[in-house]
């Protein structure tokens, strides 16, 4: 286990008084302790930065952010490392500041190779952009530049070009402050300085991709994206990672109908701006040649390609052959909410079978759902985090980073059982029962103040204690406690302890469920013992019978029974699931790949991936998020919900929910956890639905979310407009030449170009600089991203430009089920 050097304890929040200052003649009031650069951002004044990054502690290493502050002994100050003071008068653009900044840029360019033509970053490089905007344009340096071997692979995914590095230390600080593990550092000094891992070792952190993303220049590039594309050729779509249930937000960058890369789309409530490498580089499966492209049907013992009509016919006939209680469905956790909803409808409503479930943990409680669910954000403000019976480092890396953030602030970590965070634990205790007992035995008013500074276990000189009593006392410090556990861990003991502590949202229980949309499927009723929204089956029967015509309200076989060796069923539908010990007589499989199970199936229906459809997922803390369609479905594949819709059609029911948006609206009308949910919600600030109740009681309406900052996709998400980043000068290129055919629901590049060019005259003050980005947003009032988010949403740096409004009404979400061209 690797520990790290002591670092700044982050401020865990708290009320601060306000300070008023003047920047470029405009007054602004901000909280005490705010940095000048952030105060300027509030006014919409751009101060260029390289080393500064809102998620890292300021270092003041590059000096490009210099501003002129009146009445100072040294008037030229780094805006990123200077806190505001009452009455401060700051000039960002006067002669002194401009001259100083020009000087800094000249120095930064001394050793820079300026090999933009072959640099991945060109077009989204802060060095290019700020040189253009703030540079002097001429260099007095005529000596030879330093030279290094051009590209050096320093990790599995990361390639370093030392000549391009401007020594901003963002990557170093990321490893040190955020990932808190072995990583990159500066080796040598002065002009010889270079970035690298410990000599002879490889930089193989599972978070390494983040360093590539935040590198402000092209010094760090990733193997997967290297030389693949120019940023202005990419169309960007807001989406959500489906690598695990954390639900980190990402941007899918598509180049000519292929995913070129995934980038973080900072959501402070969930991912804090980071992705793990599994999520970031996990897109290669989308274009894998192994993907299923055509329906397959078993004929004479062989799976052979068939038309959709034929395959659906066989599937429907097969399912109809058996009595309802001998038919069942099992879903894997990648299935969307929309797909899950239709699966429930297919089973309980149409086929009349209660046998449906999804892959989930062992400790699923039959009686009632989880209470006291925490929000991921709660980890930031917790005073104690208990990790029990799970390994977030391995299963949910995003949560691992968030726990570390809590540790840097004020949380103390108690680990029960071995996991990737054990080395950071302030306390390690044997079992939850022991801890609960010790807690119960503490004298009533025992409270221990936070005793910082003292070395923490992850700092040099700190150590982990096994003192049970002290560990229990940590839980007494406040009720801001978060328990992190896997869904295989029994929840009763945890709930009891959390109740004694009196936890309140956003703290409480954070269950690391197994798959991306495991929580969503539970809430869509893909369970043998609950109706959607954790309703009791009998109670829900009436409403669903009315809406769906029928509703089988019995309790059915569960996951273990259906996938086990004594599977009682005769016909099954398997969606995205590859465990099945005993094949029933008739098996229909919906999947992306031909798994071992699919090879035994009677009908195999090719499903589309999460970037090829509009869909929602619900993450482990109950946040419902929307993935936009970035690509047309591969081959003849279809979104799962469309397949289920057609299957129902062949079974004799024509459902009215023939678009993803309509399905979601129906969820909103029937599912008590998603009251009045609609795709339109994703446009507004309070859009995200919390499916778990905030206060521990099921069935209460969701808490009032006003005031909880929630990140949305930059533009109205499912609409045709790209959410960020269309290059101004690219418009003419887009208009010229042949383009691939338009995708249903996706804005044709030509169309986009026309629209964008129409918009350009609207942009004023300052006019767009060549090379700058504009954001097209949909709808007259569609809110743009908040400055803090836009900051991160576009590359590593801070680019602030006005957002022109452009109305594009095309919505892929409203595309009805398409007629498939039959071969």
């Amino acid at each position: 286990m690797l520990q790290s050097r002591p670092r700044r304890q982050e401020n865990g929040g708290g009320l601060m008084s306000d300070v008023t200052l003047t920047i470029d003649g405009q007054p602004v009031t901000v909280a005490k302790g705010t940095l000048i650069v952030e105060a300027a951002r509030k006014l919409g004044i751009e101060i260029p930065v390289y080393c500064y990054h809102p998620k890292l502690a300021p270092v003041g290493a590059c000096r490009v952010c210099v501003v002129d502050v009146e009445n100072q002994r040294r008037p030229i100050m780094p805006a990123c490392a200077t806190e505001v003071m009452e009455g401060m008068v700051v000039h960002t653009r006067n002669a002194a500041a401009t001259r100083a900044r020009e000087g800094v840029i000249e120095l930064l360019l001394i050793n820079h190779p300026l090999d933009c033509p072959v640099c991945d970053r060109a077009g989204e490089c802060d060095l290019q952009d700020f040189t253009l905007r703030y540079g002097h344009g001429q260099s007095r340096f005529t000596e030879t530049k330093r030279h290094f071997e051009k590209s050096k692979q320093i990790g599995k995914e990361v390639i370093l070009d030392r000549e391009r590095c401007i020594m901003c230390m963002r990557c170093v600080r990321f490893c040190d402050e955020v990932a808190m593990e072995e990583g990159l550092t500066i080796i040598e000094r002065g002009t010889k300085s270079e970035i690298g891992p410990f000599p002879g070792r490889s930089f193989d952190s599972q978070f390494s991709g983040n360093t590539v993303e935040i590198c402000p220049v092209g010094a760090l590039t990733s193997r997967s994206y290297r030389f693949k594309s120019r940023p202005w050729e990419l169309q960007n779509y807001a989406s959500v990672c489906n690598g695990c249930a954390t639900g980190c937000n990402l941007t899918v960058d598509v180049r000519y109908y292929e995913v070129a890369r995934f980038r973080s789309r900072c959501n402070d409530a969930i991912d804090d701006g980071w992705l793990c490498d599994r999520g970031r580089y996990g897109y290669k499966f989308i274009s894998s040649p192994e993907r299923l492209k055509k329906p397959l049907v078993r004929k004479d013992g062989q799976l052979v390609e068939a038309t959709w009509a034929e395959a659906l016919e066989v599937a429907a006939a097969g399912l109809k052959k058996f009595p309802a209680d001998k038919v069942g469905a099992v879903a894997g956790p990648r299935l969307s909410n929309e797909g899950g909803w239709l699966l429930t409808r297919l089973m309980r409503g149409l086929l009349g079978s209660p046998n449906l479930d999804h892959r989930r943990g062992l400790a699923f409680r039959e009686g009632e759902p989880l209470k006291l669910t925490a929000k991921i954000e709660g980890l930031d403000t917790a005073t104690a985090i208990v990790v029990v019976g799970c390994d977030p480092t391995r299963t949910n890396p995003g949560i691992d980073l968030r726990i570390k953030k809590g540790l840097r602030r004020q949380a103390e970590l108690i680990c029960i059982g071995e996991n990737g965070l054990s080395g950071y634990a302030d306390y390690r205790v044997g079992s939850l029962a022991e801890l609960s007992e010790a807690y119960a035995n503490l004298p009533e008013e025992e409270k221990k103040g936070l005793n910082y500074p003292r070395p923490r276990p992850w700092e040099a000189g700190g150590s982990t204690s096994t003192d049970l009593e002290k560990a229990a006392k940590v839980l007494k410090k406040s009720n801001r406690v978060v328990f992190v556990f896997s869904e295989d861990h029994p929840v009763e003991g945890l709930e009891a302890l959390a109740e004694q502590i009196g936890v309140e949202a956003p703290h409480g229980l954070l269950m690391l469920v197994a798959g991306a949309n495991s929580v969503g499927l539970r809430e869509m009723g893909v369970l043998p013992v609950f109706a959607p929204g954790w309703q009791k089956l009998a109670e829900a029967k009436e409403a669903y019978s009315t809406a769906w015509g029928a509703f089988a309200s019995g309790e059915g076989a569960d996951y273990a029974a259906m996938t086990g060796s004594s599977n009682p069923l005769q016909a099954m539908v398997l969606v995205a699931e590859d465990k099945l010990e005993k094949k029933p007589e008739f098996l229909v499989v919906l999947d992306l790949f031909s798994s071992a199970i699919a090879k035994q199936a009677d009908v195999v229906l090719p499903a589309s991936s999460f970037v090829e459809q509009v869909m929602t997922m619900t993450n482990l803390d109950g946040t419902v998020q929307l993935c936009r369609q970035a690509l047309p479905p591969l081959g003849e594949s279809l979104p799962d919900w469309q397949i289920l819709y057609r299957l129902a059609e062949k079974l004799g029911q024509k459902w009215d929910t023939d678009t993803a948006a309509k399905i979601f609206a129906q969820i909103g009308s029937l599912n008590p956890l998603y009251p009045a949910a609609s795709y339109n919600d994703f446009q507004t600030e309070a859009a995200v639905h919390w499916s778990y109740p905030q206060q521990g009681k099921i069935g209460t309406p969701r808490a009032d979310l006003s005031g909880i900052p929630v990140h949305r996709p930059d533009a109205a998400p499912w609409m045709g407009a790209p959410d960020t980043g269309s290059k101004v000068e690219r418009v003419s290129r887009l208009l010229a030449g042949d383009q691939p055919p338009a995708v249903p629901g996706q804005l044709d590049p030509r169309q986009m170009a026309t629209r964008l060019s129409l918009v350009l005259p609207v942009v004023q003050d300052p006019p767009p600089v060549p090379g700058s980005r504009i954001t097209a947003s949909a709808g007259p009032q569609a809110p743009g991203p908040s400055p803090a988010n836009r900051y991160h949403a576009i590359g590593g740096g801070a680019r602030e430009l006005p957002l022109p409004a452009v109305q594009i009404k095309q919505t892929e979400a409203e595309q009805p089920v398409q007629e498939v061209t039959e071969a």
């Binding site: 690797l2 520990q3 002591p6 490893c175 410990f198 000599p199 070395p455 000189g461």
Partner: protein, 178 residues
């Protein structure tokens, strides 16, 4: 990667004592690296990793120190390490001539060691002996006003086996004008 046990138990003991004598144990890291260099003659990478473990630091944090300070050797060095000051006073007084002369006489480049293992030539930041610029250090003994003649004298006395030359901690004074 298992760290090769390079630090003797006795050395590890001394390092732990050092750590205990500072309010923040990691403050002892530079001293610990000096101890290692004293014992091994240089600070090899496995030793860096091992001392990082002792201090509970990620290994790259030790590398960054060892490579930042010229006093630590990241390669094996000769019996006499000539550390030529390259900072401003010495530079103005001709440190480049010193380097050129030594490179020629020893037939090595800066950063290298002679084949017989006697001399290593390295650069250094200001040695705080600017009054005697250009100056150098022979291991940790000062040698100032390095004209070509004085450099030749230095080399010949060291080659001749006078391992106490220049005398420790005595700043050399030019002969008084008569």
């Amino acid at each position: 990667m298992p760290t090769q046990e390079l630090l003797s138990p006795k050395l590890q003991e001394r390092i732990k004592e050092l750590m205990a004598s500072y309010p923040k144990p990691q403050s002892a890291i530079l001293m610990a690296l000096h101890l290692i260099q004293e014992e091994l003659g240089w600070v090899p990478e496995p030793a860096q990793a091992q001392v990082a473990e002792l201090f509970g630091m990620p290994p790259q944090d030790v590398t960054t120190l060892v490579s930042f300070y010229y006093m630590y050797h990241r390669k094996p060095v000769g019996r006499y390490v000539l550390k030529v000051c390259k900072s401003i006073s010495c530079y103005l007084c001709g440190s480049q001539n010193v380097i050129d002369h030594l490179e020629k006489k020893l037939d090595i480049k800066m950063g290298e060691t002679t084949a017989d293992g006697q001399f290593s030539l390295v650069g250094s930041e200001c040695l705080a002996a600017c009054t005697g610029a250009p100056c150098l250090q022979v291991n940790d003994r000062f040698y100032e006003n390095c004209s070509q003649e004085r450099l030749d004298e230095l080399l010949s006395r060291l080659r001749g086996g006078d391992s106490h030359f220049p005398p420790a901690n005595v700043s050399w004074q030019p002969p008084k004008e008569s």
